[in-house]
Every structure is written in C-alpha cells, then in structure tokens.
C-alpha cells in the first residue's frame, strides 16, 4: 500500500451532518486516524437517506456512507458529564478536535476552545457553525440555505421575476467543510512552526461568501448592485445552459468565439458552428452588451441549430472549434461517463451486502493517493477505543451503554 499523507494525525470528531464530516473524510481518506464520536442515536445524517428501496436503515444511509469513509465510530453522549469525561480522555491523545456546534452549545458542554486550551495546549479545536463562533449572529441557527442566502450567491441565481434559488447539492455545507479542512491543516502547519494548538472557527455563511466571484466587488469597486438575471454573468450572454435536441448543453463562446473588432476579416468560430458566416455581421455577434440585453433575439439566431443537434454533436463540434462548450450530465450520466471511468474517479464501498458507487477523491496525488474504505457501523469501535486504548474495564462498556452514555 502506498504511503498515506496524514499518517499519524489523530482526529476526534463530534460533528454530524455534512460540513464537519466532509472535512474529516478528507483527512481520513488521506490517512489520518479519525475517531467519529456519534451520539448514542447516531449521526443525524444516518436518518437523512437516501436508503435502498426507500427503507430507512441507519447503517445504509447513502449520505452517511458517502461522508464517513475511512473513519472509526464510537457512540458517546457528549452533552452529559459522564460522556464528557470519556471524550476528554480521547482528546488527551488527539491533535484535532472537530465540532459542528454553536458556541452556546459548546459552552453548556464545557467544550469550547477556551474550556479546553489549558488542559490541551497543543490541541487544534476546529468548529464549524452556521454564522461563526463570535459576533451578533453567533447564536443563530442555519444550514446550507441560510449560508447561500447570506453569501449573496443566492440573490444572483434564478429568474428575474421569481424567488432567488439556492444551488443543489447543499453547497453551503461542502464549501464550509472544505474551508474547515483548510483551516485544520493550516493550524497544524502553524503548530509545527510556532508550537501550540489553536481555535479554527469557520462560519458557513463566510465560507460561501469567500467564494463570491464579484457581487461584493461590483459594489466596492463600482457602486453597482447586481440582480439575478437568469443566473447569467454580467459579462454577457450566453455562457449559459440552453436546450438542444436531446437535452441541454452549456453554450460558452469563450474569449474568442465571436468576431473580434481587431480582426474583422476572420470568420468567427460561433458562425462556423452555426454554419452561417453571415452571422458575423449581426450586431448580436458583434457586441457583448447587445447580446445581454437582446438575448431573446440572440436565442432566435441560435435555436434552430441547437434544437436539431444532439448534445454530443454540439459539444464535440464546438470543442473542435476551440469553443469551451460543456455537457449538463445528471446522476446516471456521471455514473456511466467514459471520461470519469478512464480516470477511475468513482470508488466502490460495500455496505450491509450492497455494493455502492460513491464519489471518488476530489484530486489525485501521485505519491499518497487518497483512498476511501467503508464508513463504520455505529459504535463499532467502542470496545477498541474505550477498553484497548483508554483502559476502561470490559464491564464498564455495559454500564455506559445501559445508562445511555454510549
């Protein structure tokens, strides 16, 4: 087996759902020893599904299985003293403590960075919460939707006359998870350089706002406030998804798709794609602002071609003309995609007898490739961790279990 990049890094993770677990999945798949500490009822993602044939089973939740690969699981009620004592024994041997709670909840449990730093001076306490650990909204509740709303991304997504739209796939959670992962690795680098643990405090709303392309910049540099306009960029039409004969394609003319005023005699790739070089004389082909405003007129020019060609024909022809068009795959399209297959992107895990294809690693490392092993059953490492590592008696396991601590 290849080396693991994060061998030796020990992580204790009480977070549930998506953001925190995705951050620790990225650590675990890279070799860190992640001990997932679930409440006795299990991580709530075990209840979210999807489930095989729609039959709920906490050991078969698709979301849980995807987000908790390569970890081990113990159950522990960290909201009560008996559980907190066990948790602190775990933290004594940990480099990183990950939690997904608001500060007020951690305060009630005695598990904030400030509560822990004197006993565990080298511990990195990584906290992801809807609005951050501090500030006037620190106690607010939230999810991906509230993060998308606050970040400005939502205000610009959707039709001008309808409500703003969030993006599918819970991006607020995943962006926050990736930012938490970055923060943890940065704090570990800092510890190596300067010594000492740290508080890594990630707000989901800020994490998404850090991905803002130019909404805040348009005001801060121009005084302009952008609205949503069919999710279109301010730079001009189309650069957008359009219908074709058998589905949809992304029509992206790119930097050199339309006629250039600097080279008026060169036939544009867009007119070649549409098989009508006279289009180069059309004002819609010559001016970006004109296309943006008179987009219906532009669609009338392009629709006859799109509606009579398949996505495959359109994208292949466009790419041959150096136009960066793209496909709009759905879930089964991705699972059967030849390019992703050749790159061996997807990974297989088995769960309760089922073989499942889960999303693969978001990047390929040549020396220390990340690798996912199946997510753990709830509490399956209780005996290993409590008895073998923390020194509890075997009989203690039953006592902790019958009082609902594990």
């Amino acid at each position: 087996m290849a080396d693991r990049a994060l061998d030796g890094l020990r992580v204790v993770d009480i977070s549930q759902g998506i953001a925190g677990p995705y951050a620790t999945k990225l650590l675990a798949d890279a070799g860190a020893l992640v001990t997932k500490v679930e409440p006795p009822a299990g991580d709530y993602s075990r209840r979210l599904g999807p489930f095989p044939n729609d039959i709920p089973d906490p050991e078969k939740s698709g979301l849980y299985l995807h987000l908790n690969t390569s970890k081990r699981s113990i159950t522990l009620d960290v909201s009560v003293t008996s559980g907190q004592v066990v948790l602190k024994k775990l933290l004594a041997n940990a480099d990183v403590f990950v939690c997904g709670e608001k500060t007020s909840t951690l305060t009630a449990w005695g598990l904030t960075y400030d509560d822990l730093k004197s006993d565990f001076p080298d511990l990195v306490v990584a906290q992801v919460s809807p609005f951050g650990a501090t500030g006037p909204y620190a106690d607010y509740n939230g999810n991906s939707l509230t993060a998308m709303a606050m970040s400005t991304l939502m205000y610009n997504t959707g039709d001008p006359d309808r409500e703003p739209l969030t993006t599918g796939g819970e991006p607020g959670e995943y962006i926050a998870g990736v930012q938490l992962w970055i923060g943890i690795l940065a704090a570990i680098e800092n510890r190596a350089k300067n010594g000492g643990g740290d508080h890594v405090d990630v707000s989901m709303a800020e994490a998404v706002a850090s991905a803002d392309e130019y909404n805040a910049a348009m005001y801060g540099f121009q005084g302009a406030i952008r609205r949503r306009y069919y999710s279109r960029h301010i730079f001009g039409y189309p650069n957008d998804i359009m219908a074709c004969a058998d589905g949809h394609v992304v029509v992206i003319p790119g930097a050199s798709g339309f006629p250039s005023p600097l080279a008026p005699d060169v036939v544009s790739p867009m007119s070649l794609l549409l098989e009508d070089v006279d289009l180069d004389k059309n004002p819609m082909f010559q001016q970006m602002g004109e296309r943006m405003i008179r987009w219906q007129d532009f669609e009338a020019l392009i629709e006859p071609y799109l509606s009579t060609h398949s996505a495959m024909e359109i994208v292949m022809t466009a790419q041959a003309l150096r136009l960066p068009f793209a496909f709009v795959p759905n879930a089964p399209d991705l699972l059967s995609d030849e390019h992703l297959a050749e790159r061996a992107f997807f990974e297989q895990v088995s769960a309760g007898g089922d073989r499942l294809t889960i999303p693969g690693q978001p990047f390929k490392m040549s020396e220390t490739p990340l690798h996912a092993s199946a997510a753990p059953a709830r509490g399956s490492a209780n005996a290993t961790v409590l008895v073998d590592e923390l020194g509890y008696e075997k009989g203690d396991l039953t006592i902790l279990s019958d009082r609902g601590i594990t």
């Binding site: 130019y214 910049a217 801060g220 490392m365």
Partner: protein, 456 residues
Amino acid sequence: MTEQQLPLEGIRVVDLAQVFAGPACTRILADLGADVIRFESAGRMDVTRNLIITDNDGKDHHWLRASYFVVRNVNKREMVLDLAKEEGREIIRKLVAGADVVVESFTPRVMGNFGLGYDALKKIKPDIIMCSLSGYGQYGPMRDYGAYGMGLEPASGLSSITGYPGGPPIRSGLSFTDPYSGFVGAGAILTALHYRRRTGKGQYIDLSEQEAAIPLMGAALLEHQMTGRMPERTGDRSEWAAPQGCYRCAGDDRWAVISCANDDEFARMATAMVHAEWIDDERFATVLARHDHHDDLDAAITAWTSKRDHYDVMRSLQAAGVKAAAVLDGKEILFDPQFAARGHFDIVDQPMLGKRPIQRHVAAKFRRFEAKVRRPAPLLGEHNDEVLREIGYTEQQIAQLKDDAVIADKPRLPVPANLIAMALRLPYDRYIEHHILQALEPDYREQLGLAEPADA
C-alpha cells in the same frame, strides 16, 4: 496577537495559474504566509485584468483597474515573463530550484510543451510539490477540452439538481465551482506539504475541477443507485425540512429564507409570526402534512413576510430559534453587522484605486494568526527586478532581459489602450433599465466610508 511567523512563511510558490480557480488556490496559500510569485505574459495578460473595471471606466490603464483581478491576487508578487523564449523558461527553472510548490492551470499539454512538466521540474527540485488545476484532469478522453467555470458546475452534475420544480436545469449565478476547486487545491497542497514535512518527499497533484465538485452530488448519485429514481429539481425546498423556502419581503426584490425541520421549530415559527393557530391546523400540524400542503403554507408565510423587512424576518425568527436568513445582495453584505464583526472584508489600499473592501479567502478565523490581506494586488510585472535580483541576476542581465522583451511591465496590446478601455465599459444605464442591475450608486465610496479626500 504576538509577533510570530504565519504558518506558510518561508514557503515559495511559483504560480502559473490564471483567471479564477488557480488564483483562488494560490491566494489561500499567500494569505497563510507563503511567498507566491505569479506570472503573466505581456501579449496575453490574465483575462481577469479586463473584468469589472473600477467605476466601469477603463481609463488608460485598464489592466490595473480590474476588481476581478485584484480580489484574487492580493498578497502575491508578480513577474511578466515570455515563456516562449528560452530565457523566460530559464527564469522559471531557476525559481523552481528554490521553490516548494508550483501551481498551474493551463490546458494539460501546455506545461509539457514548455518543457516545464512535473518530470522536468522534479529533476530541478526533487521534493517539489506541483498542482495542476484543469477542467477535466490531466488524462482521459476529455483532457484537452477547453473549460470555463460556467461550464464546469453543469459538468459536475450540479445543474441537473438546480432549478425551479418542473423547470430546466440552471447554473448558479456565479461560477462557484471555480473558487471551490481552488479551495480544494489549496487543501490538497497543504496535505502534500504535511507529507513532505514528515518524509521529505514531494509529489504531483492532478485536480480536475469537474471531479472536485462531484462529491456535492453524493446524495443524488446514491439516490439513483438505491431507489432507481432520478433526483429532481426542487427549487429551494428540501426533503429534510418543511416549510423551507425563499419568501418575498417588503421592499424591491427583498427576500428571506426560512427552514423548519420539525414540529418544535414549526411551532416556534408560527408563534413568532403570531399565527399560533397554524400549529393545530390539520394542513400544517405534522411533518407529512406540511410537505403535502407546502404551497398553502408558503402562501400563509408570504402573507407575513411580505409586510416585513427581510432583516426583521431573520432577526425575529432567529430570536425564536428558527433557521432564517436575509437574502443579501452585493451591497448589503458589505454593511452586514456579522460579516463586519468578524472581519470578512479587509480594507486594502490598492495603487490607483485607493481603499477597497476585499473578501477573505481563508474563511477560518484563528486565535494565533490572521489570514488577512497584507499587501495589495501586484501591478503588471511589478516584482520583475526584485525577484530576479533574489535569484542572482545582475542589473546588467536584468536590463538585457528587458531589452529582449523577456520581461515586461506593460502589456503588448493589439490596439491602442483607449479602444480596449472603451470596449470594456458595460452599458450599465441599459442594464438598469432591463433590471440586470438593481442600482448604480455614485456615492458608494462615501457610503462605505472609504472616500479619499480627492474624491470629495
């Protein structure tokens, strides 16, 4: 905060990335203290030097006035280099010999064609960490596909689950998988640095932007496998909460999102809206009833929200323990008390442009250091001489490189700059008329408290 080094101080990054994903990646490394030296070419500047020109006015140095470029290139140094010339490539090789990380975002064949592929760089610096960010990865049948951010969010599958119920797939209004991939690339490089610190070994990272975002499709991919169903577009609704949606508030195009997972949260919302009778209304009393009568519930909620300011909706519902948030626009986020209290925007004094708010790229706040903006974005080729001196070039050699146009600090433009500047002005008056823009506020710098004496 005590005077200590930032976590990546002493790490040198050779940054050959352009546009959005790559520069977002290297900005994170720069914000964490790395010495990031970015590269452009005089004949082919980073295209973002043409985007969102300050005050929508290119003037005569439009390439120094593009906010799009500034936001993702603060904290970096820059050289303008002609990589088509052997002397230019020699400078890269000399820099790599003393560097820790190389980041590039060309289409896959380009670095190899320059003789600057990983195998070549590894010979110069055996423990180099190199990260290539591309649309579809370094191998596979689509590796040579041209790729823009606006195509890669759909290519990851996310657009297939984004859209109004029953409507077509749509993109986010911003190409968010671009910065998302950049963030993922930064985490990948930090992972590789950790490994190198432990073992002394470098490595190569192949990051496909399409693949980086597919994990967001995790639940949808498993739903299809587990149930045979095609995941649907549900607008702002969710299987995990009802009501959940985006509700019209008082004012012009003002909105707030609300989400209630369970009976308790719903009861708190109904009480906060002074409609406690909803708790016992058989259409709304249970989780399943609320999913079944979501349209009726949305109408009832909208009757309440539409008379209230979106911030009031957020504050009064949050005070009752209900998940809610105002949908902010690009101005409101700059004035929001939470973003302000936590310092999400640094005020940066940018040459030619004055003080401007620049968003953080490292979202985490730390106790022991700050990942903030320490220096403005570089002018074109601003650090040519400085960097060349550091790697041992003499003044005479530097002068020769200038004469030979290997380095430059001005763009080679195909037409006079004023023509390009004119073309870069967007027709904002017409954009307002067509509701592409909400407003254009000439006094914005006063409102932000960032006006310079000369502006007044």
